[in-house]
């Protein structure tokens, strides 16, 4: 078990290293000149002012130093928590901008991931090999899991927000409110939270339900199931054993799907102008704010790594084989 966690941590450490290196390399080795595009966005006419800005931006990236020095400096400022100054919200440090947005993204992601995983697995296991459920609800599951996150979000916003007028479609709370711990504010927060949450939940739910249904069908063909049936075990007991075996790949699947789920949250936030990381990314791209974009990237990578580690711990708790060291976990 120590070996298991050791390997995992090694992979995560290396991934972080690669992510930082990629983050450092892209502005320097991709075609295109970030300083130039920032200058053209600023749209200043005076040549003297443009020159001053060029010097300033070049120094901010550190382009005037030798490459190895740039790389070391990049790590140095990263370890001090310094990700640069945002251009969109000048002169707020990027770290502050991101820290303010993270709670909104987590507030959407964590409930939608956990609830869709639990509900989807239960429902998928229930639907497997039950004729009418299998034939009516599963096509729906396929449609849901194939739906682009932003499209379902747009449809929900249009149907329930614009036409029915039940839910607001922009922001995280009413424009007339200030963040506080009053009932009014919390209620407004919940109201604005519901639609983005629902669209994330529904798409993910479809995927988990189908995955579980297919796993259960595999399991119900296994030898141990035939043996139990031959012994005359009740169907409920057989299904319970099948479920416990089928849940393991779904835990691994959760780790594999994390990237897709995060991506889904980003585009959903953009649809609803929800002030989380997705909104930041949109602003960063529209304002050519490369520091903000790169900072957000690092934050997301760190978040995904932590989540992966939590899932690894969960896997050990669910699968007794990793605990006793009988099998090599995937």
């Amino acid at each position: 078990m120590r070996r298991y966690f050791g390997r995992k941590l090694l992979v995560y450490g290396l991934t972080f290293f690669v992510a930082v290196t990629v983050n450092w390399m892209i502005p320097r080795f991709m075609p295109g000149d970030p300083v130039q595009s920032m200058l053209s966005r600023a749209n200043v006419a005076q040549p003297a002012a443009v020159e001053a800005m060029r010097v300033h931006y070049t120094a901010m990236f550190g382009f005037d130093l030798p490459l190895w020095r740039q790389y070391l400096n990049f790590w140095g400022s990263l370890l001090r928590g310094d990700l640069g100054i945002s251009i969109w919200l000048f002169p707020t440090p990027v770290t502050d901008v991101i820290v303010r947005a993270v709670p909104y993204t987590l507030g959407l992601l964590i409930p939608s991931i956990l609830l869709s995983w639990v509900a989807g697995n239960r429902f998928g296991a229930f639907a497997a090999r039950r004729k009418w459920l299998d034939n009516t609800v599963l096509p729906l599951g396929y449609v849901l899991t194939a739906t682009p996150y932003m499209w379902l979000a747009i449809l929900l916003a249009w149907a329930l927000g614009i036409i029915a007028g039940i839910f607001p479609v922009a922001g995280a709370y009413g424009f007339d409110l200030q963040p506080s711990w009053s009932w009014e504010f919390v209620g407004s927060l919940a109201q604005h939270w519901f639609l983005p949450f629902a669209s994330l939940f529904l798409v993910a739910f479809g995927g988990w339900a189908i995955g579980m249904r297919n796993m259960i069908i595999y399991e119900l063909e296994a030898d141990y199931v035939n043996y139990l049936r031959a012994l005359g075990a009740p169907t409920r007991l057989v299904r319970r054993y099948a479920f416990r075996n089928a849940i393991l790949p779904q835990v691994t699947g959760l780790a594999l799907q994390l990237g897709v789920l995060v991506a889904g949250a980003l585009v959903t936030e953009i649809v609803f102008s929800y002030p989380g990381l997705g909104h930041l990314i949109l602003q960063a791209i529209q304002n050519q704010d490369f520091f903000l974009l790169q900072g957000t990237f690092l934050f997301i990578v760190i978040g995904v790594l932590i989540a992966n580690f939590v899932i690894d711990i969960a896997y050990v708790l669910v699968d007794p084989r990793t605990r006793t060291g009988m099998g090599e976990a995937a």
């Binding site: 992979v11 995560y12 290396l14 991934t15 690669v18 990629v22 983050n23 892209i26 502005p27 991709m30 075609p31 295109g32 970030p34 595009s37 096509p139 396929y142 449609v143 899991t145 194939a146 739906t147 682009p148 996150y149 932003m150 499209w151 379902l152 747009i154 449809l155 916003a157 249009w158 614009i162 036409i163 479609v169 189908i210 297919n214 069908i217 595999y218 063909e221 594999l256 994390l258 990237g259 897709v260 995060v262 991506a263 980003l266 585009v267 953009i270 649809v271 990314i281 949109l282 960063a284 791209i285 490369f290 974009l293 957000t296 990237f297 990578v301 995904v304 790594l305 992966n308 995937a330």
Partner: protein, 280 residues
């Protein structure tokens, strides 16, 4: 054997439905744009017109033909899916076969690389890469999607190769002096060809979805129209608030139909290849 697979394929409703849907959209994307006299970005009609006999899917705020954009968009969607899917499959197969067949330190190294790319969230990496690219084309988009979405395929293929490599027929080939690349191509790959095809279909679908998200965020191709870009434009120009449903419903429905059909096809094929899964 081949006719048996065909027998079950034609009787598998999922496979038939999925294939029909894909074919219809493929034909629409390939042939459709030729039947339209104008370019998708041309201002050809009245602004904000709802669907009518002349403009089947209505027009945008600027009087562009949504139906024309849809047909051209289907074309880029298929292009990105096929190119991205093929590239990801090829990388996944090479890494998976080599790691699974060679074993030892080669396997350790490749598995490590696979795990690292697997943990990195693909879309976020693509965001950074595309943001720094000034000019973006469908081809370049597909290239980067292919380069980031192969890891799970590599892992699955490695596991399959692992279980095949110690079979008698592989040992026999090795003993008769057949070289490694040939063993992989002639002995191992054909025995998991159905699996490889299923992997490709899933990568195809996920490439389409990733491309749509990128386009929606505003990092789509700068030189052509795509279904994701249509959604992006619709959202940017407040089609939602103006009630212009004909602008944002078709592109999303197109993506959903194509990807959904691919997934359903995948399950259908799985049932055809795997007798245990066939409905009794």
């Amino acid at each position: 054997m081949r006719s048996e697979a065909l027998h079950f394929a034609l009787r598998n409703r999922k496979l038939v439905v999925g294939t029909v849907v894909i074919t219809v959209f493929l034909v629409a994307g390939v042939v459709g744009p030729m039947t339209i006299g104008h370019k998708p970005a041309d201002y050809v009609g009245p602004a904000m017109a709802p669907p009518s006999g002349e403009f089947w899917f209505g027009t945008t705020t600027f009087g562009q033909d949504v139906f024309a954009q849809f047909l051209y968009g289907l074309r880029s969607t298929f292009l990105v899916g096929v190119l991205g899917g093929v590239l990801a499959s090829v990388v996944g197969m090479v890494v998976g076969f080599v790691a699974g067949y060679r074993g030892g330190w080669v396997d350790e190294l490749l598995t490590m690389v696979t795990n690292i790319v697997l943990v990195l969230p693909a879309l976020v990496v693509l965001l950074i890469v595309n943001a720094y690219l000034g000019v973006r084309s469908v081809g370049v988009q597909a290239l980067f999607i292919g380069l980031t979405s192969w890891p799970w395929a590599a892992r699955a293929i490695r596991a399959q190769t692992f279980s095949l490599r110690s079979r008698d027929f592989v040992d026999l080939a090795r003993l008769s002096g057949v070289r490694t690349p040939k063993i992989i191509l002639r002995e191992i790959a054909p025995n998991m060809s159905s699996y490889l095809f299923l992997t490709f279909i899933l990568l195809f679908g996920s490439a389409i979805l990733i491309a749509a998200s990128l386009d929606f965020i505003g990092l789509g191709p700068t030189d052509s129209v795509s279904l994701g870009l249509m959604l992006n434009n619709a959202a940017r120009w407040s089609a939602l608030q103006l009630g212009m449903w004909w602008w944002f419903v078709p592109p999303g429905a197109g993506i959903t139909a194509i990807v959904g059909a691919l997934y359903v096809m995948n399950v259908g094929l799985d049932e055809v290849f795997n007798p245990k899964l066939r409905e009794m």
